[in-house]
């Protein structure tokens, strides 16, 4: 595998697009599957991804893994089709606006700025005109409301970090589960999944573990359940 050379990237789609363009591919599901490893590599290597953005990078990582698994194990893909074409379309639209933003940068670069007067023409004189009926109690209420509106802004990075943490926790949970049972099926993991996101997160976690070589994923025959083996457990093969 050749090493990944990407410029600084601003978001998951930006990174993805750079990888695909570097390979001189058009945006397609095959191209997405092709750069999946490089995407994960870049993610691991990068130290400029803010905590706020990490969750978004991981969501795209999960979608990529789904696409890749669909191509490698077509029988696995029950729901993945939609996710896969979604990401492809999303990336194509993103590219359109990215190109447009370069056009806008060019226009701004021409510095054809215009200026307003910023204040009324001379005929308007300053005149004390208080807001009728404004009371101190109302002002206190208004101020408290402003403080309440600020709360989510301050909490913002924290909320995103919590979202990110839940993905790594899921990975830990699956690892613990496997250590406990040594052999469980993919299906039983999926049984706990309540939402589509849960399925994606579980799958991401599973593939992450495969990548870390903690487990081996085996499939007895086509269309059967996938068995997950802990690497240090005696396996039937």
């Amino acid at each position: 595998m050749h090493s990944v050379k990407v410029h600084t990237f601003e978001g998951p789609l930006d990174l993805l697009l750079q990888l695909i363009e570097q390979e001189e591919l058009d945006i397609s599901q095959v191209a997405l599957a092709h750069v999946t490893e490089q995407y994960l590599q870049a993610l691991e290597k990068s130290d400029n991804i803010s905590a706020e953005d990490l969750a978004d990078f991981l969501v795209v990582a999960a979608k990529l893994l789904l696409i890749k698994s669909r191509i490698l194990l077509p029988q696995l893909a029950v729901e993945g089709a939609e996710e896969a074409s979604d990401l492809e379309r999303q990336l194509k639209i993103f590219k359109e606006y990215l190109d447009a933003s370069r056009g806008i940068a060019k226009i701004i670069h021409k510095r054809r700025f215009t200026f307003g007067r910023g204040k009324p023409a001379v005929m308007i004189e300053e005149k004390f005109s208080p807001p009728e009926g404004l009371e101190m109690g109302t002002m206190r209420e208004l101020f408290l409301a402003v403080l309440r509106d600020i709360e989510p802004v301050i909490a913002l990075p924290k909320a995103v970090i919590e979202k990110t943490v839940s993905i790594s926790e899921k990975i830990e949970a699956i690892r613990a589960l496997i250590l406990d049972k040594a052999l469980i099926s993919f299906k039983s993991i999926m049984e706990d999944a309540k939402t589509k996101t849960d399925v994606i997160v579980s799958f991401l976690a599973l593939l992450e573990l495969v990548k870390q070589r903690s487990i081996v994923v085996k499939q007895g025959a086509l269309f059967t359940d996938i068995a997950i083996h802990r690497l240090d457990s005696p396996s039937e093969t």
Partner: protein, 188 residues
């Protein structure tokens, strides 16, 4: 006559005036105000004037012409920084072409959370938020300050505006086959 009134008001105010404000002040119907204001925009563009009328979302603003930028900047003593980070520019581009746009739509296109970027753009006055009653949600649009950066009379003078403004048009361009199938059109 309505044109004259609107011109006088825009001159006096020196700030952007919304169509609603113009309706209230001139006691005219929305459609008539819009027609007259658009005629003014065109009229100022067509003569070689030192002044321009710019449109952003639903308001109009009388400003100096881009041709006299350095003189106007010196007189207005306004510092303009054209510097925008890449993410800010990306977000602005999407809002300029797609506005009025919701935060969810913006994030869908960019693939990342845009809360902080939106807040920065709002604070810089490049983007404004409005409550969209029918959709019961907040929508974002570019402001006159952003249009002043571009030196255009209207946002829809941006390159490829029609193509990138409309979601359906864009989808069709990107996925001609899927669209054709959906619409049961004979595949070309």
């Amino acid at each position: 006559m309505l044109e004259q009134k609107i011109e006088a008001l825009l001159f006096l105010a020196g700030r952007p005036l919304s169509v609603k404000k113009l309706c209230d002040l001139t006691d005219a119907k929305k459609a008539d105000v819009e027609k007259a204001a658009e005629a003014l925009v065109t009229q100022y563009e067509s003569r070689t004037s030192g002044v321009l009328i710019q449109k952003a979302s639903d308001s109009y603003h009388m400003v100096t012409h881009p041709d006299v930028r350095s003189l106007a900047q010196a007189y207005a003593k306004e510092e303009v920084s054209g510097e925008l980070t890449k993410p800010s520019l990306e977000a602005l581009t999407i809002i300029a072409y797609r506005g009025p746009v919701t935060k969810a739509e913006l994030e869908q296109i960019r693939g990342v959370n845009c809360s902080l970027i939106l807040r920065n753009l709002l604070i810089r006055g490049l983007v404004e938020a409005k409550y969209d009653k029918p959709r019961a949600t907040t929508v974002y649009d570019v402001t006159h300050d952003f249009v002043r950066f571009l030196g255009l009379a209207k946002v829809d003078e941006l390159p490829d505006y029609i193509k990138l403004h409309d979601h359906a048009t864009l989808e069709k361009l990107l996925n001609p086959d899927a669209q054709a199938q959906q619409e049961n059109l004979p595949a070309v």
